[in-house]
């Protein structure tokens, strides 16, 4: 009796709720689409994804380093900034074209991060985890303030000179630039390359082993210090590429430009489930899209974008505390 009552009375209520939620979601999207026309909406999504691709390159460096040494490397955003400046000098001062410029940025960042790792993190490997977090913050401050000195990059906004002329193609009213194509293409190539390194090569296997259990990896004859250095270098190379691509997309650079993209990229990595490469990628795309949608559609969106970016983070955490792709960690008792 009870059972029939519950089924006939309560089940419809549930389905009404589901229908209302779905309708609300559809209405919301529909509203946004008709607000400024479907082309505007599609353009916003496209721009969001483009930004997401750049975030992904930064996020991967964060997530790899975190996966291996459990360190939130706050200096990573500033390495990204150095990457942007390196390619700026390559293009504007030496007149290099895109490919050598981005490779130059990647190499500079890679070397920089190896130095940082050796000086600031390696001596603290056996110390409490918080100690290296503080040195990471210190390195971040140092990079920002040092490069802001007059004889370095100076504290001014600098207009970034793109290494190529921007061409705009129109598809059904959508404008796609060659910059967008390059950003997406380079990011995809680098991410696939990274996946190959992690999944298929010997050093990748060593990285995965080290991230699972450092001491066991050492017992298996893996050069753990070497793997850690390699991870930092790899992450920095991606950050260097990201710096170049970001500057191409938003051609204004200054020495504090790394803070917000760095923080958002890290947040995106956490959002996706820290330590997971696909998670970092999906989280970044989500973060970039939210970023651009807020700017495009909300009144005062450009002023409130950071607020919404982190609101998304907190909402995701409330629903799934370990991020989208994160495995719930069961502590062994």
């Amino acid at each position: 009796m009870n059972r029939i009552l519950a089924k006939t009375l309560l089940r419809p209520v549930v389905w009404v709720i589901y229908a209302a939620l779905a309708a609300g979601l559809l209405y919301g999207i529909g509203y946004l689409v008709q607000l400024n026309g479907p082309t505007y909406f599609a353009q916003a999504i496209l721009d969001g994804l483009r930004l997401g691709f750049v975030y992904a390159l930064i996020a991967l460096g964060y997530t790899m380093v975190y996966g291996i040494v459990r360190l939130i490397n706050f200096a990573h955003g500033d390495v990204f900034m150095v990457g942007a400046f390196a390619s700026y000098y390559a293009v504007a001062r030496y007149g290099w074209s895109f490919v050598p410029a981005i490779l130059f940025a990647m190499v500079i960042c890679l070397l920089l991060n190896i130095v940082i790792e050796r000086v600031a993190y390696k001596p603290l490997r056996e110390a409490p985890r918080i100690a290296s977090l503080i040195t990471a913050i210190g390195v971040s401050f140092f990079l920002e303030s040092f490069t802001a000195l007059r004889f370095a990059f100076s504290a001014d906004y600098i207009t970034y000179k793109r290494p190529f002329e921007v061409t705009v193609w129109k598809f059904w009213g959508l404008s796609i630039t060659n910059a967008t194509v390059i950003i997406v293409g380079v990011t995809l190539a680098l991410v696939l390359g990274l996946q190959y390194v992690i999944r298929r090569t010997k050093i990748g296997k060593a990285m995965r082993a080290t991230s699972l259990d450092k001491s066991a990896a050492r017992l298996m004859g893996i050069n753990v210090d070497g793997v850690i250095t390699f991870t930092f270098a790899l992450g920095a190379a991606l950050a260097g590429a990201a710096g170049t691509l970001y500057a191409i997309a938003f051609p204004q650079i200054w020495t504090f430009m790394g803070i917000m993209p760095g923080l958002k990229a890290f947040t995106a990595a956490v959002l996706g489930g820290i330590g997971s490469v696909p998670g970092a990628f999906v989280g970044s795309l989500l973060m970039g899209t939210v970023d651009v949608l807020v700017v495009s559609f909300l009144p005062l969106g450009s002023r409130l974008r950071d607020l919404f970016a982190f609101l998304v983070l907190i909402v995701v955490f409330l629903v799934k505390p370990t991020g989208i792709f994160g495995e719930p960690q069961v502590e062994k008792v």
Binding site: N2, I17, I72, I134, S140, V270, I274, D306, L307, L318
Partner: protein
């Protein structure tokens, strides 16, 4: 041989008095400039905030990166009250105060209501009783719906309570304040503003903790960092909601009432409260959460409750510190509460020693001296080098002393008191006599 020892509270009191009158004398006698007088106060204010963070992270083990957000809330929250007293921006001298008090009481009412109803239990009960008849996701949805409806109802009730209270409070406060002479109403308003700054921050902190404390350590850190960035962004646009907060232009017209007695008094009072709390059963249980959460639970400690307590108390400390800061310069700008500034208290507590109140207070003073000292020492034209040299110092200190200045040790009265001397009866003679002591000597 035991020698007679001076009780630790006497030495500690002596040092505190010396520090207090030292600064007071230096100021009154004109031995230090206004600038350095403010630096000393800023050091004490930073110490209050850092003590709060040390409670959360150092003693309770919850890695929070959002402390600056609560500091900002306390600063702006209190500034609105005192600015009202001076400029009547809300239309009456106590308008902001009345709204804030009513709002907070309403919110507390809602929280108590929700707590008394035991929402998680309600949800569980509904879901499990329905899951016999319905699919789990259906039962779950209905449970969530019920919980949302109940929460909405209690929130509505709390809004009603707040509105009612405001109708009562507003005229009452206005008469009280206007009937008092200025010499009495000014400190009264200031004290109320300080407490309000703390309590608003504590309330927000309780809510944030409720939502986020169940996250794992680094996830919690990044989520609280996100909260701090949200507060910062909100402050940059605060003029959209309350015009007088002036958003990114910076809030002016706050009376500069913070003086050394207020600041030092606040620090001493809050340090005593924290010390007494830590050296009690509650404090020990709180520390046990840092040491081993699972063992702590298994000893009957309500871990969630203690995390909430530490986080809320820490938020209160940040709020009071922020309130004192707001009245130190009489000017507030969002950039004082940016993410970069937010690392300051973390750096201080790590440098002083996680889980050491003494270390925190010492480190706060040293931090202010280094930052301001560099400004004085560096030659003209090299001011920009301040933030290049500071991180290098930071790096060197961390490399040389990764566990901080003091580790977890404390000085004087701040130390855990020793148990009283007594003869402990040993009931278990057989064990004591033979095997136990024998086996322990083997190792």
């Amino acid at each position: 041989m035991k020698r007679l020892q001076v009780p630790s509270w006497i030495t500690t009191l002596a040092v505190a008095l010396l520090a207090f009158f030292g600064v007071w004398y230096a100021k009154q006698g004109g031995h230090i400039s206004v600038y350095w007088y403010q630096v000393v106060q800023l050091a004490a204010i930073t110490a209050i905030s850092a003590l709060g963070l040390n409670l959360i992270y150092g003693f309770n083990g919850q890695f929070s990166l959002g402390h600056i957000g609560f500091y900002a809330i306390g600063a702006y929250g209190s500034a609105l009250i005192t600015k009202d007293y001076v400029t009547k921006w809300s239309g009456s001298q106590t308008g902001a105060l009345a709204w804030m008090l009513a709002g907070q009481i309403g919110l507390v009412f809602a929280l108590v209501l929700i707590n008394k109803l035991g929402l998680p239990v309600v949800k569980k009960r509904i879901s499990s009783s329905l899951s016999e008849h319905l699919a789990p996701h259906e039962a779950n949805t209905l449970g969530t719906l019920a919980v949302l409806l109940i929460s909405a109802a209690s929130l509505a009730a709390s809004v009603a309570v707040a509105l009612g209270l405001h109708a009562l409070l507003a005229p009452a406060l206005e008469t009280i304040i206007s009937s008092l002479p200025e010499g009495a109403s000014r400190p009264l308003i200031f004290a109320l503003a300080l407490i309000n700054g703390g309590s608003i921050a504590a309330l927000v902190s309780y809510l944030v903790g409720l939502a986020l404390l169940r996250l794992g350590s680094d996830y919690f850190g990044i989520a609280t960092l996100g909260f701090a960035v949200m507060v910062y962004t909100a402050l940059q646009n605060s003029d959209l909601v309350i015009e007088t907060m002036k958003g990114a232009r910076g809030m002016v017209g706050i009376p500069p009432w913070s003086t050394w007695p207020w600041v030092a008094g606040g620090l001493v009072l809050l340090a005593i409260v924290m010390r007494n709390m830590l050296r009690s059963s509650h404090g020990r249980a709180m520390i046990s959460v840092r040491e081993d959460e699972i063992a702590s639970q298994s000893m009957g400690v309500d871990v969630t409750q203690l995390k909430n307590l530490a986080f809320t108390m820490g938020g209160f400390y940040a709020g009071v510190a922020g309130a004192l800061y707001a009245h130190l310069y009489g000017f507030l700008h969002p950039s004082s509460f940016s993410m970069i500034k937010g690392f300051d208290p973390l750096i201080i507590i790590v440098f002083g020693g996680l889980g050491s109140m003494t270390g925190t207070i010492l480190a706060s003073v040293m931090f202010a001296l280094v930052i301001e000292g560099l400004r004085v020492i560096l030659p003209q034209g090299f001011e920009d080098w301040r933030f290049v040299i500071y991180p290098i110092i930071l790096l060197l200190i961390m490399l040389l002393r990764p566990s901080g200045l003091l580790g977890t040790s404390e000085w004087g009265w701040l130390r855990a008191p020793l148990p009283p001397e007594r003869d402990i009866p040993v009931p278990n003679r057989s064990l004591r006599g033979s095997a136990v002591s024998a086996s322990s000597e083997e190792e």
